[in-house]
C-alpha cells in the first residue's frame, strides 16, 4: 500500500516542499508536522473528513499529513455552491471538517452520529473524493485511490531535485492534484500561486521562485505569453491540459522555450490521467487507439465520442451512477475525428463550450436570455477564438423591431452579467430574424 508520507520519508529533509507568498515549508517540516499532530491524527484514523475551501498551501499540507491515515478525504473547492455541501457530506459520510491553525491540526464534528470507523487499521489506503468540473448538472463526486491517481506519475527523487513546479490550477481539482503529486512524490518544490493575483503578478512570482516546470491550460499559457515577465522564465517541463491544445500554442511555446520538454495531456476527473502527447502536434496518433498505451485502452464510438478504459479501475462515482460500460470503458463526452492518422478533438458532445478552461452549457445561457421580455428566441453556441479557445456567441430574435441595436446589446449583456459568471456572458451577440429548427421543432444545434 502506498501513501504520501511513505514517499516523503525518502526525500532529503533540506529540500523545500512548498512555497507560497507567505511561507516556505521544507520536507523536514512536513515530516515534523505529522509528529506534532500525532494525537489528533489518532482520533481521525479511518474517519471521513472534508477540506472545505481552505487556501492552497493549507490544502497541500493537510493532504500530505492525512493521506494514509483517514479513510476518506472530500475535496470541497470554494466555488462549489453552499447548497450542495450537505448532499456531498451525506454521500461521503463525512464526520469531521479539518483545518490548520498555526500548523496545528484542528477539527470540527460534522456528524456525531456517524461511527463507522476502522480503528484497528493504522495505515489505510485513503479514498480521495474529487468533484468533477460538472457542466450539465451539479458536479459529481468521484472517488480515487492513491494508485489510480499516481499510475502515470514518473517518480525519481534524484531528478526531482531539479524541478520547481508552479501551481496555477485549482489544487482541489484533478488537474491541480496531479501537479501537487508530481512535485511532492519526487521531492520537487511546489510554488503555489495566489489565484486572486493578476497574471503579471503570478508570472513574477514564478520567476522570483525560479519555477522551471508548469502545467496549465492553453488559455493560461497564452496569457503568460502576453506578459513581459514571460521572457524571464526558463522551463525544463511544460504541460498543457484541460482544454484542446492547438498546433499554434504548441509551436509558440516550442519556439520560446526551446530547452523545455513540452507535452499535452488528456485527463479528466473520471478517467484520471489518460495519456500524454510529446510530439508537439495537436491531437494524438491513431496508434494510441491500437492498444499501444500501457495504462489505458481507447475506442471511438459510432457517434464519434472517445471512450477510455483505464487498466486500474480505482475510480468510481460516489453515488450509484455507473462510471464504466460493460467492457470497462468510460465515456469521455469528447467528440473526435480522425484525419491523416491522427485523432483530433472537436469539442464536447453535450455542446458544452470551453471558455479558457471554464465549461459553459449553452442551455443555461439561453434560459437567462429567454427570461428577458425583449427576446423571443435565443441560440447559444461556441465560436473559435485564438485567445480563449472558444467564446460564447448568441443568435437572438427580438420580440419587436428596434433601431438602436448597440443599446439593446448592452442591455442584454448587463442583464446576463447580473445572473451569470463573466465567462458565460455572451461575448458576441447577433440579431437574426429567425432560428433554424429541426423537423421535430427543436433548436438545430450544429455540432462541429
Amino acid at each position: 500500500m502506498s501513501y504520501i508520507q511513505k514517499y516523503i520519508e525518502e526525500i532529503p529533509e533540506s529540500r523545500i516542499a512548498f512555497i507560497d507568498k507567505r511561507s516556505i515549508y521544507s520536507y523536514a517540516k512536513l515530516k515534523n508536522l505529522k509528529l506534532q499532530n500525532k494525537q489528533i491524527l489518532e482520533i481521525l484514523v479511518g474517519s471521513s473528513v472534508v477540506i472545505n475551501g481552505r487556501d492552497r498551501l493549507e490544502f497541500a499540507i493537510l493532504l500530505s499529513i492525512m493521506d494514509g491515515i483517514v479513510g476518506k478525504i472530500l475535496f470541497l473547492p470554494q466555488d462549489i455552491e453552499k447548497s450542495l455541501h450537505q448532499k456531498y457530506y451525506t454521500e461521503a459520510h463525512i464526520q469531521y471538517e479539518v483545518f490548520l491553525e498555526n500548523d496545528m491540526l484542528k477539527y470540527v464534528v460534522v456528524d456525531k452520529d456517524l461511527s463507522i470507523k476502522n480503528k484497528e487499521q493504522m495505515m489505510v489506503s485513503t479514498e480521495w473524493i474529487i468533484p468533477t468540473s460538472g457542466t450539465t448538472n451539479n458536479p459529481k463526486l468521484v472517488s480515487h485511490t492513491f494508485e489510480s491517481l499516481t499510475k502515470t506519475t514518473k517518480l525519481n527523487i534524484a531528478i526531482g531535485e531539479l524541478y520547481r513546479w508552479g501551481l496555477v490550477f485549482d489544487i482541489y481539482r484533478f488537474s491541480g492534484i496531479q501537479v501537487l503529486l508530481q512535485s511532492i512524490l519526487s521531492g520537487s518544490t511546489l510554488i503555489i500561486t495566489d489565484s486572486s493575483q493578476n497574471i503579471s503578478q503570478i508570472v513574477s512570482f514564478l520567476v522570483e521562485n525560479r519555477c522551471n516546470a508548469l502545467s496549465a491550460t492553453p488559455s493560461f499559457w497564452r496569457k503568460v505569453l502576453m506578459t513581459k515577465e514571460a521572457n524571464d522564465l526558463e522551463f525544463k517541463r511544460i504541460t498543457l491540459g484541460g482544454e484542446i491544445s492547438d498546433e499554434n500554442i504548441l509551436k509558440v511555446l516550442k519556439r520560446k522555450y526551446s530547452e523545455s520538454k513540452i507535452s499535452h495531456i488528456y485527463a479528466s476527473t473520471e478517467v484520471g490521467v489518460g495519456f500524454s502527447v510529446t510530439d508537439c502536434m495537436a491531437g494524438f496518433p491513431t496508434s494510441y487507439l491500437d492498444g499501444k498505451l500501457k495504462d489505458i485502452k481507447m475506442k471511438i464510438s459510432s457517434d464519434g465520442t472517445l471512450w477510455i478504459a483505464p487498466n486500474n479501475k480505482g475510480q468510481k462515482y460516489l453515488s450509484d451512477d455507473k462510471i464504466y460500460d460493460n467492457e470497462g470503458y468510460i465515456n469521455t463526452g469528447d467528440l473526435v475525428e480522425i484525419k491523416n492518422n491522427r485523432v483530433y478533438f472537436l469539442g464536447r458532445d453535450s455542446g458544452a463550450i470551453n471558455v479558457g478552461g471554464n465549461k459553459v452549457q449553452p442551455e443555461e445561457i439561453e434560459q437567462v436570455l429567454l427570461s428577458m421580455d425583449l427576446i423571443s428566441a435565443a441560440y447559444v453556441y461556441a465560436i473559435n477564438n485564438p485567445m480563449m479557445g472558444s467564446l460564447v456567441c448568441a443568435d437572438i430574435v427580438l420580440t419587436k423591431k428596434i433601431h438602436d441595436k448597440k443599446d439593446v446589446k448592452m442591455n442584454i449583456i448587463r442583464y446576463c452579467r447580473d445572473s451569470l459568471e463573466n465567462f458565460k456572458v455572451p461575448a458576441i451577440i447577433k440579431f437574426v430574424n429567425e432560428l433554424q429548427t429541426t423537423q421535430s421543432g427543436k433548436l438545430k444545434r450544429n455540432k462541429k
Binding site: S200, M226, V252, P386, I428
Partner: protein
C-alpha cells in the same frame, strides 16, 4: 476611420461590455494590455469583435502567432496583417 481608431473604439466598447474600467489615463502605444483594465477574457472578446468589424483575425492568420504585451504591439499586428494593405 483607420484601424487604430477602430481598435480604440472597440476596445472601449468591450471594456464597457465586460464591466471593466480603464485603469490608465489614456490608451498609449506603451500601455501594457493586461494592466489597462481589460482582462484576458475581455481581450479575447476584443479580438472576436474586431474580427466581426474588420473581417479578419490576425492571430489565426499568423504562421506563428505573436502574443502582444502592449497596446502598440497589438495595433501593429492588425496593421501588418491587414489583408486590405
Amino acid at each position: 476611420m483607420n484601424i487604430k481608431q477602430i481598435i480604440k473604439e472597440k476596445y472601449l466598447e468591450v471594456l464597457e461590455q465586460t464591466g471593466n474600467e480603464l485603469l490608465v489615463a489614456e490608451l498609449r502605444d506603451d500601455t501594457v494590455l493586461l494592466e489597462s483594465g481589460l482582462d484576458s477574457l475581455g481581450f479575447a472578446i476584443l479580438v472576436a469583435t474586431l474580427d466581426e468589424v474588420l473581417e479578419f483575425d490576425p492571430f489565426t492568420m499568423m504562421e506563428e502567432p505573436i502574443y502582444p504585451s502592449t497596446f502598440g504591439e497589438f495595433i501593429d499586428i492588425y496593421e501588418k496583417m491587414n489583408p486590405g494593405n
